[in-house]
């Protein structure tokens, strides 16, 4: 699906944000990018989204996603405060010139998917942090993209909401067979969600090692409390400490 080789990014100030990044993603994979803050995770995600140009290296898509073929969820919900939840979800379709009726129906479908069908007319001001993030996810999915990129989407949420959203996200992504890149700084979250966890190191940002998570999706009920989960978390946390050192 995506193949990145020897990718580097030097910012105009001369700071090397990324160096020799190699990353390959197969269709339907859920990959987490884990690392200390400032290691270039977000920069890499922005490059993959096409929002920032790399300074060197190659990035190849197969097949190349169409316009709207990459859904992105940022750290902040990034909603239009003047528009209802439904209008926010509709925005990508409106840009693409989809008619009002089809737009409306698609948006309602997506809101139902994230469990917000009763909040279609609510303005972001009145929604909780978790609900706003759900709207942002619904918006990212509304164009039915094959690829979904998420940049620490749940960092600002409380633990319970976060776990709930993790389950819902995993469910949606596996059902739709999405190829997902998930940026996080939480080892447990990365282990829970992914089939692979990539560890990044800072200055310059590069991928240090990868851990495969061999557990069935959807996750079994007690997975979060299983010895297997704890072992993976231990392994990934150790790698994270190594990356920070």
């Amino acid at each position: 699906m995506l193949s990145i080789t020897h990718l580097g990014k030097i910012f105009s100030g001369g700071v090397a944000a990324l160096e020799n990044v190699n990353l390959h993603m197969a269709r339907g994979e859920f990959v987490s990018l884990l690392g200390p803050s400032g290691c270039g995770k977000s920069t890499l995600l922005r490059i993959i989204a096409g929002l920032t140009a790399p300074s060197s290296g190659q990035m190849e898509w197969a097949p190349l996603p169409a316009k709207g073929g990459i859904g992105v969820v940022f750290q902040e919900p990034t909603l239009m405060p003047w528009a209802s939840a439904r209008k926010n979800v509709e925005a990508p379709l409106r840009i693409a010139g989809v008619g009002a009726h089809a737009r409306h129906a698609r948006a309602m479908e997506m809101l139902a998917l994230v469990g917000l069908e009763n909040f279609a007319d609510a303005y972001p001001r009145t929604l909780s942090g978790g609900m706003k993030m759900r709207v942002a996810i619904a918006r990212a999915l509304v164009t039915q993209p094959p690829v979904l990129l998420l940049d620490e989407p749940f960092a600002a949420l409380d633990e319970i909401t976060r776990q709930q959203l993790n389950d819902d996200l995993l469910d949606i992504c596996s059902k739709a067979k999405l190829t997902v890149l998930f940026v996080t700084h939480s080892a447990a979250e990365a282990v829970y969600l992914s089939s692979r966890v990539l560890m990044m190191r800072a200055r310059p940002g590069t991928i240090l090692r990868e851990t495969r998570i061999n557990a069935p999706v959807p996750r079994a009920d007690g997975f979060r409390h299983s010895p297997q989960f704890a072992a993976y978390c231990g392994e990934v946390s150790a790698a994270l400490r190594e990356a920070i050192a």
């Binding site: 929002l51 990034t78 239009m80 405060p81 990508p92």
Partner: protein, 260 residues
């Protein structure tokens, strides 16, 4: 709560008027220095038709200037948002226009555009007075759009027009509306200043009535004209506040009702 909101200031004004009436009589203040409110009321009723005509003249020019100032300010700010070069080239000129006291350039404007049509000079001066807050705030508002939303629109390949109409203009609304409240008042002030400068006979607005009454020592009539003038100002402010409230009420943080 609602009744107290209206009643309290009303009562304060009533008490002040009563005090004014009593003290003027008690201290025997000459009517050409400070007429009592009752005399002002009489003057208002006696000259109502001519005063209302003057108020209409002033209001018409103020409103026209205000509408043109909003249209011009918004249009120029939108141009600035599309071209940084244009902004660098033209914004300083707008600042110069703003910081130069309108009274100082008024005689020039009267000579240039007002000789055959004094109302045109009034309009231009009121426009200059009202224009800058709109331009300045609108420019800021268009630039204050959420960068995340701009990224998102770029991601989906939105056109410049879509970004402008769907992101930048709504983002600028909370900046534009307060500027319009200021501009509405400034348009009225600009009109009145222009009427004063344009002098006698050129126009028949409220400022002219005030000058005329002053020259004839009809101080009560002068106060009546002044009263109408402030009523106009209040009406303009009230309408624009209502507009602001209507457009921001449902979504803007400033209108959020917080329960503590």
């Amino acid at each position: 709560m609602k009744a107290a909101h209206i009643l309290t200031p009303f009562l304060v004004v009533l008490v002040m008027l009563g005090l004014w009436e009593t003290l003027v009589h008690l201290w025997q203040v000459p009517a050409f220095v400070l007429p009592p409110p009752s005399a002002i009321g009489h003057a208002l009723v006696d000259d109502l038709s001519s005063l209302l005509f003057s108020a209409w003249m002033t209001l018409r020019i103020s409103l026209t200037a205000f509408v043109l100032a909003v249209a011009g300010g918004v249009a120029l700010a939108v141009l600035f948002s599309q071209s940084r070069l244009l902004e660098m080239a033209l914004f300083p000129l707008a600042v110069i226009l703003q910081v130069t006291p309108i009274v100082a350039i008024a005689p020039l404007i009267v000579i240039w555009v007002g000789i055959d049509n004094p109302n045109r000079a009034l309009l231009l001066m009121a426009w200059i007075a009202a224009f800058f807050p709109v331009l300045s705030n609108m420019t800021l508002g268009l630039r204050a759009a959420d960068h995340g939303l701009l990224d998102l629109y770029r991601l989906y390949g939105a056109t410049r027009w879509q970004v402008l109409t769907q992101i930048r203009l709504p983002s600028a609304l909370p900046y534009l509306l307060p500027a319009m409240k200021i501009s509405g008042g400034l348009a009225l002030i600009g009109t009145v200043v222009a009427e004063f400068v344009a002098g006698s006979g050129a126009s028949m607005g409220l400022a002219w009535r005030i000058m005329e009454s002053g020259n004839r020592l009809q101080i009560a009539k002068m106060f009546a004209a002044l009263l109408l003038l402030s009523l106009l100002g209040i009406a303009i402010f009230f309408c624009l506040s209502a507009l602001e409230n209507r457009l921001l009420r449902r979504w803007h943080e400033s209108r959020a009702v917080r329960e503590i």
